[in-house]
Subunit: 313 residues, 2 copies
């Protein structure tokens, strides 16, 4: 059976620092069969990631024999066009030609992308109808999870800085703030990442929590420690957005990643802080991402489809 590539499903994989998510993107753009497994670490990370990816593709193929391609997104510095993972210190790999290796293992066209850049691309695609000038907008997608990073778009084009752009999590927003794992102090992600919110609440209150969502619930139930930490997080986020507004002047800032599940409890205070902080800068519209923690998988799907399109040109 010959299936037109544009109407065939693709396998998608998002390698995170902790978990690796997998799924299949159907021709209509929806995700199905989403799963997660601990990200392999240890001596042969690359081999183990390839094993995991190949096993997922084999399984996906049983349900979708017309699987047309595979898309993989990873953290670190990524050269999309060459299909190479240049560097990821937390994954301990360097200059890995993932696209070629994965294509070899699966017999399918394979695309490689950066996790945050791809997640941002997916959020922009899914919000395009609502953006001031469609995809041509100056937009920043801030992905807030364990850490914080941004995917930046200027007139609709991704702004990559050789893979180093968008490290918004390491913009200093509080000179006397917490020590950051990067070696800096008061980096945005030490105050406003989902991980930091949970960690700081436990340190402050002595209470264990499963994540930032539980801190927000506590704050809404009147817990003063939780309220203070949520307040500091949204204020720090507004400081980060103020920096973006001064430097890049995005028309739209999309808040994505796990923390976007907080909804208006996130966007409302961030918007109020912004109104106080912004002076000469253009005020961006603050939007919620629509894809949550699955944005990376959606991005991997977009890249895999593009790879198929390129192949048939």
């Amino acid at each position: 059976m010959v299936t037109s590539p544009a109407t065939a499903p693709v396998a998608v994989i998002d390698v995170g620092g902790t978990d690796t998510k997998t799924g299949v993107m159907l021709p209509d753009g929806t995700l199905t069969g989403i799963g997660a497994a601990p990200t392999p670490h240890g001596t042969d990370v690359v081999g183990n990631v390839l094993d995991l990816a190949a096993a997922h593709v084999a399984q996906a193929r049983r349900a979708h024999p017309d699987l047309a391609a595979v898309g993989l997104v990873v953290p670190g510095i990524v050269d999309d066009e060459a299909g190479r993972a240049v560097l990821a210190s937390n994954m301990r790999w360097q200059d890995v030609p993932f696209a070629a290796l994965l294509s070899e293992r699966t017999g399918l066209p394979a695309a490689l992308g950066h996790d945050v850049a791809s997640a941002g691309l997916a959020e922009v695609e899914h919000s395009a109808a609502d953006l001031p000038r469609g995809r041509a907008t100056d937009t920043a997608v801030i992905v807030i999870g364990t850490g914080i990073a941004a995917a930046l778009f200027t007139e609709g084009r991704p702004l990559r800085g050789g893979g180093y752009a968008g490290e918004l999590g390491h913009v200093p927003v509080a000179p006397e703030g917490p020590q950051c794992a990067c070696g800096g102090r008061g980096c945005l992600e030490t105050l406003a990442s989902a991980g930091a919110i949970a960690r700081r609440y436990t340190a402050q209150s002595g209470q264990q929590v499963t994540g930032a969502a539980q801190v927000l619930q506590a704050a809404q139930a009147g817990d003063e420690d939780a309220a203070a930490i949520w307040h500091e997080a949204t204020e720090a986020l507004a400081r980060g957005i103020t920096v973006l507004a001064a430097v890049l002047a995005p028309q739209v800032v999309i808040l994505g990643g796990g923390l976007s599940g907080a909804g208006a409890a996130l966007t409302d205070p961030v918007g109020r802080h912004l109104d106080q902080m912004l002076t000469v800068q253009r005020r961006p519209q603050i939007r919620l991402g629509r894809l949550g923690t699955h944005a990376g998988l959606h991005g991997a799907g977009i890249l895999a489809r593009q790879r198929v399109q390129e192949g048939i040109r």
Copy 2:
């Protein structure tokens, strides 16, 4: 006489908040006949600026009868392509079609540009031979004078953010720092602009100075107040560059404007502070601009030449 436009001189005008500079750019790219006059203010700023520009063009034409075009650069929000000055609060104008008006007054093709963006373009053109990938580099040109603003380039393309990008002077770098005219606190330009350096030294020491150069001289002669203020300025500048490195990751940062006259006394301490501040960010090379306070005039010349090229297509 018919002169090929690419080899003809162009008149150039740089309207600043205080002074307006004028000159002629010769076919080999050098500036000649540079003059300065107080920028007209008052009830008919636009009319007065046009009078000044027309008088300059008339005078320049006497020396250069083959004058091919005129380039004008102004502060504020500028729509280059439409040739319109959209907004400049300190000039009190709004939506002025300067290119058309100037062309009408002079009978020459006229180009309009933003002062800092054009100055940055000129610095990049003049540094292109030394940039890692020529003009295609990710570059930031920080123009440090009365205030601070940056011209940003991503893969050689100007990043404008609808005219709002590059307001690096209003990135907060010191939460408890001086009040800024913009309404913010601790903005970069309250510590590191040439104007702020002179102002802060006078406030600290009670001594009047003609400008930042004199503060640097005092610091080099052992004046502790001057040394402290110069130190704070270079440290604040490094903080601003750290923000740029995290967000845009420029390969090269060119320090331009009047303060670039300080040479190594500026770049050396900024580089040392950067080495301490940068962690995960790509470290930009720090370069001195080559055009000083004339970068805006050079930029006006580039735009005027482009206008001529477009006209003969």
